[in-house]
């Protein structure tokens, strides 16, 4: 054996040997010699051995009573909120009992064939309780038994609630079913992937849309001594080397909190979609978030719920020009010209002292509106002239690229055309 290592070292031009590291790896004092007898350490955090026809793995079950609160929300709000989630798949009626929450801890990144989920976190409502199950494989050979358990579980649910599960967790689970010869199409989930609404709503308002950020800023959840998810693979490798259950305690805790946060996100989005915005969640502080929330509700087919948010954003004094433009674009599309014009005017006024790209865009929109809708060429011309002046000053500072040049050119054309139209009228 060391023959091969020596040869490799020579070929790589290495001389130092890794003997020290190897010696360390061989300390297996905690390893469970027989797979049906567990080290008592596991018991201290509620982990039990589970066996089925495919073999065995470890299972930890945690039950949350009806009264349990996690941050802003009580876990049992799920029952009420769940119906709102129907908006994700309008032809089905969602209910809390049909939703399975899932979050994987894996050995690597991406969804290649060599990335193994060593822990599967599952969450579901059972009677008046919220149950979290966490499977763990003590070594990769236990994966098949764990997956068989999951496959059986899936049959009882229609919805899979995840954070990025559409592109990561679920395709990875499918990989593993194939790799373990458990079939190709075991279950077809209706995805409730909360990363997508989170991105739609908080793209600009939060520093990132990572779950830990979202839960802290919007769900009132504060983790203490959390092991970051990115550490999980390393800790699992360490556990494989030393066999010490306590190594994984932090990973269990992290995954458990992720599952609870996932449930709270379901609650939050469910309430939103149900129109229970004042009752259960605060109106967003930032106008941008109001508008984005409204836009998302519209996208989800809840147009009637967005007006309230749009209206609040419209009235907010702190709205940034970019937010006003975003809403105006929506109004223009929806034919609500009254408010669109108001918003564009606000966008110009709000940035009076510091005319930027947003104000320019707003003036151009106004020029278009006056020209085409009202045929008021004089007002149109004054907006166009305003835009041109500022565009010219604005672009002077930067180097003109082809896009900016085209923009200026089209403004010039617009002004010329408006002048012609105006002259024609005067004749």
């Amino acid at each position: 054996m060391s023959g091969l290592r020596n040869r490799m070292n020579r070929l790589r031009g290495e001389t130092a040997s890794n003997d020290a590291l190897i010696a360390e790896a061989e300390d297996h004092s905690f390893v469970d010699e027989e797979s049906d007898r567990l080290s008592p350490v596991w018991e201290t955090f509620g982990v039990k051995l589970y066996s089925n026809v495919e073999g065995s793995f470890l299972l930890r079950k945690t039950v949350y009573p009806v009264s349990f609160r996690h941050g802003h929300h009580a876990i049992m709000e799920l029952r009420k909120a769940a119906s709102g989630l129907s908006a994700f798949h309008p032809s089905f009626q969602a209910s809390a009992e049909k939703v399975l929450f899932l979050d994987l801890e894996t050995t690597g990144l991406g969804i290649g064939a060599g990335n193994i989920p060593f822990m599967i976190g599952l969450g579901y409502v059972l009677d008046e309780q919220f149950v979290i199950e966490q499977t763990l494989i003590r070594h990769p050979a236990e994966e098949r038994a764990m997956l068989a358990y999951l496959a059986e579980k899936l049959q009882h649910y229609n919805y899979l609630a995840t954070y990025n599960g559409k592109t990561f967790d679920w395709p990875l689970v499918q990989n593993r079913f194939i790799m373990n010869g458990l079939g190709r199409k075991i279950w077809e989930p209706h995805h409730l992937d909360f990363l997508h609404p989170a991105r739609s709503i908080w793209r600009n308002t939060l520093a990132s849309c990572k779950l830990s950020r979202v839960e802290e800023e919007r769900l009132g959840i504060h983790r203490e001594d959390d092991v970051p998810g990115s550490m999980a693979p390393q800790l699992y490798f360490q556990y494989l080397a030393d066999g010490n259950p306590s190594t994984l305690e932090g990973v269990y805790r992290h995954n458990e909190t992720d599952m609870l946060s996932l449930a709270c996100l379901a609650i939050r989005f469910g309430h939103l979609l149900n129109g229970d915005i004042h009752q259960y969640i605060r109106l967003p502080d930032e106008p941008e978030e109001m508008v984005r929330t409204g836009l998302w509700l519209e996208k989800m087919g809840r147009t009637e719920l967005s007006e309230l948010l749009f209206d609040s954003a419209m009235r907010a004094e702190t709205a940034k020009p970019s937010t006003l433009l975003m809403l105006a674009a929506r109004d223009k599309k929806a034919g609500n010209w009254m408010r669109a014009v108001l918003l564009w005017q606000k966008a110009v006024i709000h940035s009076f002292s510091n005319v930027g790209a947003d104000a320019l865009e707003a003036s151009i929109e106004l020029a278009m509106y006056y020209e085409h809708k009202l045929k008021d060429y004089e007002s149109a011309l004054s907006h166009a002239n305003f835009a041109f002046e500022h565009a010219f000053n604005h672009f002077k500072l930067a180097r003109l690229d082809s896009k900016k040049r085209a923009e200026l050119e089209s403004l010039r054309n617009r002004i010329a055309r408006l002048k012609r139209k105006q002259d024609k009228l005067l004749l």
Partner: protein, 761 residues
Amino acid sequence: MNRFTGKTSGLEEWLQHVRQNAEIMDNVTHWRTIAPREARTAPLPDGLHHAWKEALRSRGISELYTHQAAAYRAAREGNHVVAVTPTASGKTLCYNLPVMQSLLENEEGRALYLFPTKALAQDQVAELQALADLMDVGLKTHTYDGDTPPTVRSAIRNAGHIVVTNPDMLHSAILPHHTKWVKLFENIKYIVIDEVHAYRGVFGSHVANVIRRLKRICRFYGSTPQFICASATIDNPKEHAERLIGEKVTLVDNNGAPMGEKHFVFYNPPIVNKQLGIRRSSVLETRKLAGLLLKQGIQTIVFARSRVRVELLLTYLQELIRDKLNNKSIRGYRGGYLPKLRREIERGLRSGEIRGVVSTNALELGIDIGQLQACVLNGYPGTIASTWQQSGRAGRRQEGSVTFMVASSNPLDQYMIQNPDFFFNRPPERALIHPDNLLVLIDHVKCAAYELPFDAGEQFGSESLEDMMEFLVEEKVLHKAGSRWFWMAQSFPAHNISLRTAAQENFVIIDNTNGSRVLGEVDRFSAPTLIHEEAIYIHEGVQYQVEKLDYSEKKAYVREVSVDYYTDANLAVELKVLYVDKERVSGDLIRQYGELAINAKPTIFKKIKLRTHENIGSGPIHLPEEELHTSGYWFSFSEEAAARKSKNEMQYALLGIANVLVHIAPLYLMCDPFDIRVVPQVKAVHTQKPTIYFYDRYPGGIGLSERLFEVHDDLIRQAKSLIRSCTCLSGCPACVGPIEEVGLLGKKQALELLNEAEGLG
């Protein structure tokens, strides 16, 4: 000939004129006429699907060439096949026939095609899809490579009947995500590998391992596909294909394609300085010959060995014919041109709109450019196999064609040009791969473990699986559970492993004299001694000084200077023999093959005055030492031989021999001259005798010096004959090296010593 325009009525008539033109014929060392060959055909096989038959008929194919029929038969009998065919002999039908037939019989079936480059893959898909469309049966053919848009990838994975890709993509995108390709792997019937001769050396060794992984994945999905390979003419197609795919293959080499009469002309530029053995530039002579052809309106392809030469010749030729043809009718073609431009040039060549093209060996591979009439090779392409491939670009079925090979002053070129029999009578080179090179193997074992856990008792390459597994467990990338080993690391191994090694990357030389322009390239191994900082780099007779060498970015910045010295760097090479694996003793000569450790570090450079050759200064070179563990072969001379010469004489003699050997070694190998190194030592540490070492320039070796160990006697004989037949007086760059390097008696010393080097069997 038309007296006013100087134009002849065709190639035949023009060749008659050339034969009477003393100015040209004086430099022609050999003119071989290869008789035309009639087509040998066989009827379309029985049982061919009627739609397929119709499609072939509509393409004007109502019978097959013998090799196509044989390949079809062999494949249908369930054999793995390698078909050896020269350029333009209807090679693609050898594999398309059985593959299409099988897909027509079972539309659930799938096939995977591998081509060494993206351009070839795209070419092939166009052809295949056109055939499939003719049949109107909904067969789908797709390329899957780095250019495939993400939006269509999933459709290709599920619905493509034939997926056309390259080994790199298979390695880094398809195999590690095999679960997304279930449809393909469960139903795969054929794997087609075209241009197998291109998979040699390190690249080939990697590809052989990618194929091991591919077979492993197919097994997992319960399929055992058949391989159909196609190769250019090489010495060992069967052996090579068998090593590459790890299966027994049936060889098909009864080429039945017709060929017109072919003239092969060896042209050696005239000597302009006999003492120094300097000949007129091969570039200028190439320009002359290609110019004559183009002026006759003969469609011509010119091959040059480097990108820089391609551009140079292109400029020359465009100038030459400026008033006769428009500039667009003569084009360049090389790697680095954008795909769109390449397609345009290929089309122009097929339609005849483009009359001339200057290309690197990029056009040697099977890209469809139709058949041209004449070919001019600027320099010996490096291998017999490439020479035939390139020459095959000229040659239509009905008309005659001509190939001129213009030799450069490099010893290998000079050897070839003076020994036409060697070229015409010898089989082409052997393609060598060494899939069990430990470094390469371990890389792919990692990738394979990522793709599927290893089971005890599995086999992957010649190393013991248990040993490799245990090693990777210690490296903390695998974990053993029960009797299986699982990938257990966060990394994605294929990302860090490139099939085409970095060693092939060149240093770019950038001239900052006026703005900045790329002057040329230097290979990685020569960089430390040629373009270290302060070196004088000579390019087309102009001196440049290196101002900065960016070693990690592989760039050297130079500025034009005018000085009266050149620089010469000392490279301290330390060479240790680690193991002796094979040994042969005959008489006084001992030759051995084994493992070597080489440490090379440039130390100082000297400034040497032009003409007087005085040493007028020196400076240090600060570059990292490179260490290489590889396989090598060496032979040493007896102590008596050593005693007959002074140390100085011995030094010159060994250096002279080394200079010759390094150039003629590629005669026996299909490799780049830079893949193999020769180092002479007057008193070697290992043998205590005068010794010449050869080694592979890749860690672990790729089988080159092992082959040289086998052909030692031949090699020495060829070296002797090269030195003897060289017309110089006492050594020149075309044989033992210039007298500045090997002394005034270098040639004689080298010959004397070589007489002792031949073993007695």
